[in-house]
Amino acid sequence: MTAHSHKKDWLFTYVFSTDHKMISKQFLFTGFIMGFIGMLMSTFFRLQLGWPGESFEVFKMFLGDWATEGVLNPDKYLALVTMHGTIMVFFLLTGGLSGTFSNLLIPLQIGARDMASGFINMLSYWLFFLSSVVMLVSLFVEGGSASAGWTIYPPLSALPQAIPGSGLGMTLWLISMTIFIASSLLGSLNYIVTILNLRTKGMKMTRMPLTIWAFLFTAILGVLSFPVLLSAALLLVFDRSFGTSFYLSDIFMGGELLPYEGGSPILFEHLFWFLGHPEVYIVLLPALGITSEIVSTMSRKPIFGYRAMVGSMMAIGFLSMIVWGHHMFVTGMNPFLGAVFTFTTLLIAIPSAVKVFNYLTTLWKGNIKFTPAMLFSIGLVSTFISGGLTGLILGDSALDINVHDTYFVVGHFHIVMGLSAVFGMFAGVYHWAPKMFGRMMNNQLGVAHFWLTFASAYGVFFPMHFLGLAGVPRRYYTNSNFPLFDNFVDLNELVSIFAIIAAFAQLLFIVNLIYTAFRGPKATRNPWHGNTLEWTTPVEHIHGNWPGEIPEVHRWAYDYSKPGAENDYIPQTVPLGPDEEDEGGH
């Protein structure tokens, strides 16, 4: 081997890799770096909300002219809020979560050598990387980054006169998201094709692990809804740059009448939420799939109601496409339409309830091993319940009137979607680190990370419901301008303190992850005694995943503690005994 080709090998192994396992790690680290930046932003604006108007050294250091003499500027507060939302929803929880685990687990769990198209997979990552870079660059341009909220409603997002961030910062936001959508579509198409076509012999759809089902539904939702966001963004680009009036009409600003006529910002809201609501489940379903797998493995018990779990995910996925209007109850939309969206929205509670009770029944009479992955999965079930229940209030058009756009909403979606998805992601990393790095993550640090995160996250988001019920609007730079809200000064401080604790707790995870990746103790082939195919691959990564033939699958993935079996697990590759019935097969 010449030195030249060795160099080339390095480039194509670690950088322009087409191997799904490497791409998975690339998504993981890019996603986590973005997530870390997003978290840092939230601690910054929590400092302002907890102690409004105070000067902070840390602002002088990091925020420069975004904070005059260390006091955060009101419009830059909105810039931070906007970028926090964008980064967390799209870059951490869509690209990072789905990109990491769909890539890692789809080929390994269905028994494929790699993704259907390794090249498209690589392209998907590099577009994701590019969009992340553009999004971060937008923080440094004149006028600051996009500041109209992560939902970028026009006219605020369309007109630089309305807020400085709607200048170049917003243009870069739109470019970044366009690239991101391309990345997401390439990834999703690849996942769907791989799952449908590359399953190994015996891996019937009804034998697929729930993770794979979750990734499949996630990818389908992405393919159906992201193009709509793309068109919404393109029309916004036209309005911003080419003088069209898709979203704008009758605007008088800065002392002059603007020439836009005939458009409607409500059109944008419809297009945005047509993606925006399925997006919630694009974020959540992979986390639910991951925890279904972990709860079953670590309870040493089959997941209860496998078919109901698949059915409920399918129902959630379908319903999520027809509920977007519940974000728009008070836009002046026809009340009859509001009634229809109330109906479809509240229906989602049924499959969600099925999932929760199935999780609980899986734990019942189990033999639970409390690995960090299992702890985070239990945490997810808890947050999924707490956050999901308040959805019954927000999804009801009548009740939404008074809590719409208040902190009640902030509390609700951070718990049900933010925390649940992040917990699912942590659980996945702790559980599959042996497959990603061939090394094991430290248990004690993981446990400490869980309890600190779990307790402080509830400390951050639970009190927000009280703010919302008192009528405090979200996205306010400070609540101190209303005597009505003066009684909540201590609440805001408490939330900020918990937010800072939660941020520091993540250091435990970062140290653990980086240490594990390079120095952690070597993994064994099947450390958790799991049934799925990824545990039959060698610890060292090899191209093509299995050294010889791809193993054949004979049973579903959840034969844990089956009566009559010697071990408390039976891998999917073990043929059925003469009297045995396959639970997944029928």
Binding site: I163, V354, L375, D405, Y458, F466, A470
Partner: protein, 341 residues
């Protein structure tokens, strides 16, 4: 200085965590076990933390209710708001009930079924009757909730009956303040468009419309009479805003290029509410609840609810848009049409 120290502390913290990690590993090796393995005793400890966390969590919840509960919004000050509050109470009761039941089961199961090598988990893969139970019961409960909710929604969104006595007010939003425009004696708002904005005519009222002459434009605070339905029409001249009046359980977005509306009947005067809340400075407020720019957090207007007599007295003191113009009430339909041409 403080920041530098914090950074040094963070760096030292990270180093400490790394060493801690090494200590965990070495002690595990010394004990002859794999460092990542959860021993039965460690598992039991985690299981014991579950009910401890649960109790702390519930205590935190109850503490919050006791501590902040009194500062939530007082009883509704509007007619439909009473139905709103009833629906909210029922839904909230249901939510809290389900919350406690499911969370308790979750933490209890986690505590009870911690790993023991002497035991095997029960192989229990499915049970259609149970699935039916927890599909059926939520469906039933939700059907009731949906019907109740939609009924309330339809009543709230019903426009004011034009025949009945009512007050018509336009809420006009711009970055970053509110203006209220009263329809005046004829109870009809004059036409308006951002195209007419010029000089002192900040709302773009069409001065050729005879209905506009008696319109009254007020800033800072606006008054409404108790017991009379108030029909609001919302407009915005620049970006999206939202007219949020939390005490009346009322909210509607203000959309540039379109008119939106909302109505309610106030039931409690400002004075009565001051007594009820024991706060002599209490005021109803209108605030902006849709991100609208840098000063979004300070876009507000006071609302005064008072007796019909006081309201009429106050309104009489407000200046008409065009005091010298003809009043639509004093001329007949034909003349109005002519004048509007």
């Amino acid at each position: 200085m403080g920041v530098t120290l914090t950074f040094i502390a963070i760096v030292l913290g990270i180093v400490a965590v790394v060493y801690l990690l090494r200590v965990f590993e070495l002690s595990a090796i010394a004990q002859g076990k794999k460092p990542w393995e959860v021993t039965e005793e460690e598992g039991k400890n985690q299981a014991r933390l579950m009910p401890v966390f649960m109790i702390a969590f519930y205590a935190f919840f109850i503490w919050q209710i006791v501590h902040w509960g009194p500062y939530l919004l007082p009883e509704s000050a509007s007619k439909h708001g009473e139905d709103y509050d009833t629906l909210m109470t029922i839904t909230m009761g249901l939510i809290i009930f389900v919350f406690f039941v499911t969370q308790t089961l979750l933490f209890y199961f986690a505590y009870k079924y911690a790993y023991s090598k002497n035991r095997r988990a029960t192989y229990y893969a499915h049970n259609n009757k149970l699935e039916l139970l927890w599909t059926g019961v939520p469906s039933l409960v939700l059907t009731i909730l949906i019907l109740f909710g939609l009924n309330t929604w339809n009543e709230i969104m019903q426009p004011v009956n034009e025949e009945e006595e009512h007050v018509l007010i336009e809420l006009y939003a711009k970055q970053f303040d509110w203006t209220a425009r009263y329809a005046g004696k004829d109870n009809k708002l004059g036409r308006a468009s951002v195209k007419n904005i010029a000089g002192t005519n900040a709302l773009g009222v069409d001065s050729t419309d005879i209905h506009a002459n008696d319109d009254k434009i007020v800033k800072g605070e606006f008054h409404i009479p108790v017991g009379v339905p108030v029909q609001f029409v919302m407009r915005s001249q620049d970006v999206l805003h939202s007219a949020y009046m939390p005490h009346f359980r009322a909210q509607m977005n203000c959309v540039p290029g379109a008119k939106t509306q909302f109505n309610f009947t106030p039931t409690i005067t400002t004075e009565e509410m001051r007594q009820k809340t024991g706060n002599p400075d209490f005021n109803y407020i209108l605030l902006c609840n849709k991100i609208c720019g840098a000063a979004h957090y300070n876009m507000q207007m006071d609302i005064i609810v008072e007796s019909k007599e006081d309201y009429e007295k106050w309104l009489a003191e407000q200046k008409e848009f065009n005091p010298n113009g003809k009043n639509a009430n004093n001329i007949n339909e034909k003349e109005i049409k002519l004048a509007q041409r």
